[in-house]
Symmetry: C2
Subunit: 279 residues, 2 copies
DNA sequence: CGCAGTTTTGAAAATCTTCAATCTTGGTGG
DNA sequence: CCACCAAGATTGAAGATTTTCAAAACTGCG
């Protein structure tokens, strides 16, 4: 197994792969995601195309928390499939303001840009220790052409991401600070575990701090702090040091203003059936 | 030619089509978009697949300004290709708050939902008199399968829309009120004409009023009014009654904080080459 | 000319940010 | 085991931005 320091990509380590080599997990496991089988996974299904895709990976990257995966402006060309850990995608303005576009959990495919755009319009970095498969964009396109069911899965994923973005626009534009924070935490709890909080006092591991919540919600971290206190005083939830405790699931869902459809998209209940992908 | 009142769809008129019938334009033309050849157009290209698509249209709908195309919660199943006029897509919260997700100009394809989601997660209505082609979603999927280049065009469009959404998230989360208003007006000017304002005093027709700008930017219409006044006092632009006059193109672009890449996506400079679609 | 939709203005109140500290927490090394 | 450090969390007070409420003026169209 060949290890290469990914110079231009920060200190992440690049692992050369052959088809038969097992994927190397990060030595210190990510506590924020349950153990999953390593390899290309998640949104892309597990049919014939999935196996081809797995064998197409150019490399596997193992990253420490905080390391960049790519930066805004970097040349595009590779897609990434997140295997373990969390990733954040953000966009910067010239003057330093930063908006977090979304948080990714294991299974996500990311790093695509519309053809014709020269460089990446946004950046991505590991939020926790993470491992991801690198697949050349051209290879992904070719795979989509040869496997219609895989192509549909890809299109479904783009459409779902578009809905997640719409939902974030609702938050940023219409919800007040308290609702935005509640909404974000609920979303991440559901997306990372695949289900709604049910029991009072249920705990979720979410690898954020207050400045990150602030960058995602368009607030200052000071104000996020006050909203978290209010949510605690209102007996709805408590969040600190990466631990979300949900005191009142019902009021949280109500406050976050989440629709049934959105809940389904978060909890993958609506993902296309996997048998469709074996074709 | 058969005219059918689209009862459940508001007062829009539904025009039954055969392959050879010409499309009927709205009697009162939309002043906000230049005359274009009628028929399926725009983002979907003009190759072989385009011709098949044109012949696949289930109907053509001619709508007066203000009429709904579909409402949040309506069953999904049809896609729409906007031929003439402007359309707005929005999402409502239970308590009546509304966020405008995006404005569509001729050529847009809209109305898709991730498979598995039962009803529409958002609504759409005509902003001006408009005409659009109705294409069954299943037909679109089938066309994508048979025409790889068409499929790529579709994927490109989804990826571009995702970038537009990211850009709006930047606005809603990071830009202040004045920047948001400036950014929105510039975006619509560029997207509707395909080019940047160049000359001082150039005029663009944009069919919005202050409440609509407010719903798109997450502000109150009162505050939008004040920001428009400030932009006028700062000698950057003037907007009222659907007329945008750009006094200082350079400062407007600067204020809006638009990247080169975004400008390219707005002005379709980066659209995949059409010859790729003739395959 | 009059009406409806749109734009404009003022003043007070709420929300959110800024600035400037202080306090906690978890991890490190002695 | 404890002292210490750095990152993260918390607080107060002042100030800026944005909203709310209430009303008036303007515009284009019939």
């Amino acid at each position: 197994m060949i290890w290469v320091k990914g110079e231009s990509l920060g200190k992440g380590e690049l692992v050369g792969m052959t088809q038969t080599e097992p994927l190397l997990a990060h030595t210190s496991n990510c506590v924020y995601c349950a153990a999953r089988p390593l390899g290309v996974c998640g949104a892309l299904g597990d049919g014939e195309a999935f196996r081809e895709l797995r064998d197409s990976r150019r490399a596997v990257r193992i990253l420490d928390a905080g390391l960049p995966i790519y930066r805004q402006g970097d040349p595009s060309g590779d897609l990434f499939n997140l295997v373990t850990g969390w990733v954040v995608q953000y966009q910067d303005l010239e003057d330093g303001r930063r908006q977090i576009l979304r948080f990714l959990v294991p299974g996500a495919l990311f790093g695509y840009e519309p053809t014709g755009v020269k460089g990446m319009c946004h950046g991505a970095e590991a939020l926790t220790n993470a491992s991801l498969c690198v697949v050349p964009a051209a290879r992904m396109t070719e795979l989509r052409h040869r496997h219609p069911a895989f192509n549909e899965r890809f299109v479904w994923m783009l459409e779902r991401d578009s809905h997640l973005a719409f939902d974030h626009m609702m938050s940023l534009g219409q919800r007040d600070a308290r609702e935005r924070v509640a909404h974000l935490l609920l979303e991440l709890a559901v997306r990372s575990t695949g289900r709604l909080p049910a029991a009072r006092g249920e705990v979720f591991k979410i690898p954020l701090n207050q400045p990150l919540i602030a960058e995602a919600t368009g607030l200052t971290s000071i104000h996020v702090n006050r909203m978290l206190r209010k949510l605690r005083e209102d007996d709805i939830l408590d969040f600190h040091h990466g631990r979300l405790t949900v005191f009142d699931p019902e009021r949280l869902v109500e406050l976050a203003g989440v629709s049934e459809a959105m809940l389904a998209l978060w909890s993958r209940a609506s993902q296309p059936m996997d048998e469709a992908l074996s074709a």
